[in-house]
Chain length 335, copies 2
DNA sequence: CTGAAAGCGCTTACAG
DNA sequence: CTGAAAGCGCTTACAG
């Protein structure tokens, strides 16, 4: 027999309410389901009693039957990057509007992504948003078997058959290159994040291919690990070399902010001595302290797309690629 | 009879695994519980089969019996304030380390706090972290009845009998005032966040009482709504008046960053023309672009305290107040 | 409109 | 160590 745990002695159930009102447990259950028909009188009586007894339906018992948990998992790689916290803000608001909540999985956990996904599955999540790292074939099949919609947000994994919504990173990289090139830059550098993600690779590839097509060679690179601090120290290193770059592309904005601060500390004038361009258009990029020129990701639209992937009846996985656009501010010159 | 929803046709259960291996369903269940004793051979056979069949235990079914959901709810007021996203990062990491996940409730939801808490209760959360707004007596009693630990993080509600962990905001406000006073400021201003929270009120009260005790009158005030933009425009307004302040206390750092940018746009030199001091010590405050002098909240310790309140057996609600400390950077002068 | 009953997928005494 | 069985708190056909 199941032991009633000491810590839950006071749990009040639908049967308690039923007894109190003098109806069946099933009727109490119906009172909490807006579309089942019942006398207004009965419903009111039940709802009043529920309030009086502090009754709240147990959503897990419901999930067991309906198969819906109203929980969407979100695996977040870096909660210190405003791009992702902005996404979390927007996702949680929209999901709450339709009665769902987001369960956070912190990608910084050493136990890793696959373990996280296994845990998500235990929670019977209705959907899964992945903004971190990559995902293995095996784990994908776990989700597909259960027909749980998974969407990769701001990344995709080549060869893995799964929903994804991204900005056109190659085109964005080219746009960044074009902006710098048109302004007459001559010594280029790029600070990348993490060479294992397609997002990073595509942006860098777009950037360098545009320049190489125009005869530019020797593009310097530095690793910024997708963080402010990483961008800061990569920029310092790059700028202290002889023949320091006069044009710098940072694969995301948070690294670009670090690079700006590094350049200023070194006494470089921006955009005079050095132009800097980022990617994302996080809110901080637009603030007076930075005024960063950047490639804006259409985050609102990206989330729209992700939401429909999350909620539509299971169909073939699709991959949406949206166009970013150049936001000119003061860290680049005119062409 | 319960309908098996079309969207979950593939769900594999412990009975499926049991049939596959040739043991009882109970044995499969035990195989997933590390402390129940069983033959290594059997356990291995079951775990292998589970992997092969893509079986993952249903945590809701478990919760129904154990009364533990391994979910902790966190109500977050402002995901754009790095102080709270840093807290989320830290909480989620520590909770994951003990097998729990955080379920986010976005306080920006127009449906309000009480509705959010009702939803949390439906999810049978094991605990509840509140970093937003206030909480009503009624809702408190809902939690107390269920013996669910609630902790108010960085706030408290007077007269509500509930756990809370805060920085000593009055002392912090006094420390801020002292820093400015000792440096010889003469015209003071404070930008507050939201006058309905004790956190805000206490900081302002500490600040003004320190100064009033020293004969300072006419402290100017402006409302910054706890945001960068609010701090920015409040500072603009304050600084454009005749007899503009030469010392500004912002009740949190994010508003102070806005104030710094506003002052710079107006051509004020910091700390020469204007000293600025914040509260929190968010990571951005330490960056070269700002170098904000601030009162650091001992966030690590605060989270330690919150974690023990969340996990200990139900005891009397306690209230912990930790001391902040002054972090001198370049937005204030020496005394 | 409402009740009695089955069943969602587990855990856990109780026997053996 | 393992199985049979009860039961966690609900939802939902099925009758009436």
């Amino acid at each position: 027999m199941a032991k009633i745990p000491a810590s839950r002695t006071q749990r009040v159930t639908s049967s308690d309410v039923a007894r109190f009102v003098g109806v069946s447990q099933a009727t109490v259950s119906r009172a909490f389901s807006p579309d089942s028909s019942m006398t207004d009188v009965t419903r009111t009586k039940i709802l009043d009693a529920a309030r009086k007894l502090n009754y709240v339906p147990n959503s897990f018992a419901r999930s067991l039957i309906t198969g819906e948990s109203n929980i969407v998992a979100m695996l977040i790689g870096d909660l210190h990057n405003p791009f992702y916290t902005a996404a979390l803000d927007e996702f949680s608001l929209r999901l709450q509007a339709v009665g769902k909540q987001v369960l956070v999985f912190n990608g910084a956990d050493p136990k890793g992504v696959d373990e996280a996904i296994r845990r998500m599955l235990e929670y019977q999540v209705d959907g899964l948003i992945i903004t971190a790292a990559t995902i293995s074939m095996h784990v994908t099949s776990l989700c597909v078997d259960r027909e749980i919609p998974v969407v990769m947000f701001n990344r995709y994994v080549p060869g893995v058959f799964i929903n994804s919504v991204c900005c056109d990173n190659v085109a964005g990289g080219r746009l960044a290159a074009n902006t710098l090139f048109a302004a007459g830059a001559s010594r280029y550098a790029v600070i990348f994040g993490d060479n294992s993600t397609t997002t990073n690779l595509d942006r860098v590839q777009g950037f360098t291919s545009f320049l190489e097509e125009r005869g530019v060679r020797n593009i310097a690179t530095g690793s910024g690990r997708y963080t402010y601090e990483g961008g800061y120290s990569a920029a310092k290193k790059l700028l202290k070399q002889k023949n320091a770059p006069d044009a710098l592309f940072c694969v995301n904005d948070i690294m670009a902010l670090g690079a700006i601060d590094a350049a200023r500390e070194l006494g470089r004038s921006i955009p005079g001595d050095l132009m800097i361009i980022g990617f994302d258009d996080i809110i901080e990029a637009s603030r007076p302290a930075y005024q960063l020129t950047t490639i804006r990701q259409p985050i609102r639209q990206m989330i729209d797309e992700a939401m429909t992937m999350l909620t539509r009846p299971t169909t073939e996985p699709t991959s949406r690629i949206l166009q970013g656009r150049l936001i000119k501010r003061t860290t680049t010159r005119e062409g």
